[in-house]
């Protein structure tokens, strides 16, 4: 028998969104368990740098309508406008709350929160004037935010299960309601069932499917794998954001805040090439636009360095004062990972995978939705998803910088609120667990423990990451996509034959990595299949064979199912909550 522990609610993941949700739940005096593979302050939110969006108008005129317009346009019109309105309207509330919690924001002379410009954030519905909307704590905004949220959870006595990895959802076979998860306590190697009336997934992104990524080792799409194995769909997985400025060769992120503060990109001729691609916003165009421009420069022979494989980010003209005060973390990173002191030298950068716009389909209350009968968006009872693992969708085909931290707070809070509401309006006791609860997980673990030979996890992982990098990057070519699908399918079979030498129960990281690989391969499969099928270019999906956006045929969300790699589609929510629809236009910056 697998031991069972009972809670009202289970939160899987303790990054920004998981901890924001947990705070809501803990304050409601519910019995909550928050699982995390790592100690909460080690979650990847910690690495966010530049800021969190909110139209506080502390430095430039601003309002949520303009923020909403920029977000819809940034999404290349694939974002759901009801959800985007919801997020932009709650931005001030959640950011002010975060300040009250103790977030060490930088300050203006008048004592208000310091705000800087960021890519794609404009005034007056896309005018050439940039909005200063990114609320910043130097270039360590994510670190400051994650620690603040952890501190508030300490105060609220949240119960964390630290270094536990969730493995599978447990569904009631009657109606598909989620009634718990199986989880591995890493220190002891014990498998456990955590039973709950609500399960909220906040497992973050899966950028480790690519070779060059800004993402941490832990970003392995665990929630995505759990959902896919439970027979539920994943939405818009073809849309992966390549951040323009990852340190060449190292992948480590250099914030867009550098360009917000006035830095810019140069090719080997010393030309500020973004002026050609985005005459108005230049280096502060949307990330997909800048990444394509950089890739084009490099492909056309204007890249820098011995191999012409990167461009340069120049910021020495900002002066030591601005660099040391506003961008101290960047200086540290550049000196460590690029041997360049940005006070004197430019930083070599390349577009690097950074963020997953797609994910587990939800509505803007954080409830997971999936097609059932006549509805394309029937609520899956008991299951919630927030943060990067979720697809609300507020980011559509391309996310604006600083909207991710905002997404974490708004939907972390909203998901928590909805879960509380659902528990209070349906005060049922715990449902009985299905008879075979946990059996699929036990079978997976038994296979790994029993395997005496097979594929090394690290080999399959490296092949997977190289395949995704070669077949599904900034520009996508039909041949590469076809072959990529076949290769990822092969990798999916190899994952079934992995072998680990380490059979110890105690803190077995080899076992954890093997289980993570099973989640990564589902994510990669969803990405390749969805990208191959979408015959247009939109946001982060740029196809050589279909270079234009095709609103007539493709203004719709992709839904991928693990079973048979089946695809389905559902319409974009074009109607906001209270304002007029923002009609699709040609997207220029």
């Amino acid at each position: 028998m697998i031991p069972v522990r009972r809670f009202d609610a289970i939160v899987v993941g303790a990054g920004g969104s998981g901890m924001r949700a947990a705070l809501e739940l803990a304050r409601a005096n519910l019995k909550v368990a928050v699982l995390s593979k790592v100690f909460p302050t080690r979650s990847h939110t910690v690495a966010a740098q530049g800021g969190i969006a909110a139209p506080l108008a502390n430095s430039t005129e601003d309002n949520w309508h303009w923020h909403m317009y920029d977000t819809v346009k940034g999404s290349d019109y694939l974002g759901d406008q009801d959800a985007i309105e919801y997020m932009c309207r709650r931005a001030i509330e959640v950011v002010v709350e975060l300040e009250h919690m103790g977030m060490p924001f930088d300050r203006l002379e008048n004592g208000k929160i310091y705000q800087r410009p960021f890519g794609g954030h404009t005034q007056d519905y896309g005018s050439a004037k940039m909005a200063m909307r990114a609320c910043a704590a130097a270039d360590r905004t994510g670190h400051a935010m994650l620690h603040t949220l952890y501190q508030q959870n300490v105060r609220a006595n949240t119960q964390f299960l630290v270094e536990w990895m969730a493995l599978d959802l447990i569904l009631d076979p009657q109606d598909g309601a989620v009634v718990g998860v199986t989880a591995l306590e890493m220190e002891t190697g014990e498998l456990c069932i955590l039973q709950g009336k609500g399960v909220l997934l906040a497992t973050g992104g899966a950028g480790r499917i690519y070779w060059a990524t800004t993402n941490a080792f832990i970003n392995t799409g665990d929630g995505l794998g759990m959902v896919a194995r439970a027979g539920l769909p994943l939405e818009d997985m073809e849309f992966w954001q390549f951040h323009p400025t990852g340190v060449a060769g190292a992948g480590v992120l250099i914030t867009e805040g550098v360009r917000g503060e006035g830095g810019y990109l140069l090719n080997k001729n010393g030309e500020r090439f973004m002026e050609r691609y985005a005459p108005n916003a230049k280096d502060l165009a949307s990330r997909d636009v800048v990444s394509r421009a950089m890739t084009t420069e490099i492909k056309e022979g204007r890249g820098c360095g011995e191999h012409g494989d990167h461009v340069l980010l120049k910021l020495d003209h900002l002066g030591p004062e601005v660099i040391m005060h506003r961008l101290p973390g960047i200086r540290e990173i550049a000196m460590k990972f690029a041997n360049a002191d940005p006070i004197r030298d430019p930083i070599p950068v390349v577009p690097t995978v950074h963020y997953q716009m797609g994910g587990i389909p939800t509505n803007y209350m954080g409830q997971v939705v999936a097609p059932e009968g006549a509805s394309k968006e029937a609520i899956v009872p008991g299951l919630y998803a927030v943060g990067e693992c979720a697809c609300v969708s507020v980011h559509g085909a391309n996310r604006l910088g600083t909207n991710s931290l905002l997404d974490l707070l708004v939907f972390g809070k909203a998901g928590g609120e909805q879960l509380i509401k659902d528990l209070r309006t349906q005060p049922t006791p715990h449902r009985n667990l299905p008879k075979d609860a946990g059996e699929p997980t036990r079978a997976r673990l038994a296979r790994l423990d029993g395997a005496k030979s097979g594929e090394r996890v690290v080999d399959v992982l490296n092949d997977l990451r190289r395949t995704m990098q070669a077949h599904c990057a900034v520009f996508r070519f039909p041949d590469d996509l076809h072959k990529g699908v076949e290769k990822v399918k092969e990798l999916g079979e190899r994952v079934q034959r992995t072998f680990i030498g380490d059979k110890s129960k105690v803190y077995n990281t080899a076992r954890v990595e093997a289980l993570e690989l099973e989640n990564l391969v589902e994510t990669a499969m969803a990405t390749m299949i969805s990208a191959e099928a979408r015959k247009e270019s939109r946001g982060a999906q740029a196809r050589a064979d279909f270079p234009e956006r095709d609103d007539k045929n493709w203004m719709k969300h992709t839904l991928w199912y693990k079973e048979g790699n089946r695809l389905d589609y559902k319409p974009v929510h074009l109607r906001p909550l209270t304002v007029q629809t923002m009609e699709p236009k040609v997207r220029t910056y």
Binding site: F105, E109, A137, F217, K505
Partner: protein
Amino acid sequence: MKLTIYRYDPEKDAAPRYQDYDVPVDSHDRMLLDALVKAKAQDDSLSFRRSCREGVCGSDAVNINGKNGLACITKIAELPEHVTIRPLPGLPVIRDLIVDMTQFFKQYHSIKPYVMNSDPPPERERLQSPEEREHLDGLYECILCACCSTSCPSWWWNPDKFVGPAGLLQAYRFIADTRDQATSERLDNLEDPYRLFRCHTIMNCVDVCPKGLNPTKAINHIKELLVKRAV
């Protein structure tokens, strides 16, 4: 390069041992963590924590040739050819380089690491001048990696009673925050022969902090405040 790594699996090993790894490093391997990952590719039973690989999550603090540091921002080029890696000193070892940090976090929690302010929150942000905000610099950046506390002889001796440099740095972070109203309660909480005054300014904490922070200075500020309060 040659790595000599502390190994211990309580399921298999009667006592800890050292194991050597020959790791071929090339120009892509910048940091000690890259070498550790390669060693693990040779032997998947080698266990250590890691996550962000850029020095901001605080997972991979280890003892490198006798000095605590983060493997992910320790440059291979600046290390000798032979490196000995041990778990952080002074904490129970769970396995290999993975230590039990319960005591460390207990001390962090003991200083009430959150802003306390009983005024009703205003509609917008609480105001703070840039100068007031600057007092938090050098404090809030702590990543809780435990390099400092586990290099502190006073903390080795009394990990249950002495808060340690990491916890005290954070205690001062909240004292220094103009939005916090609990200075006197915070000082009461530290006015104790062990909790604060076990710091004998040995300054190992300053020497090892991978973020360049100065816990000793923060501890001295707290001591000054206690003196001021007494007179």
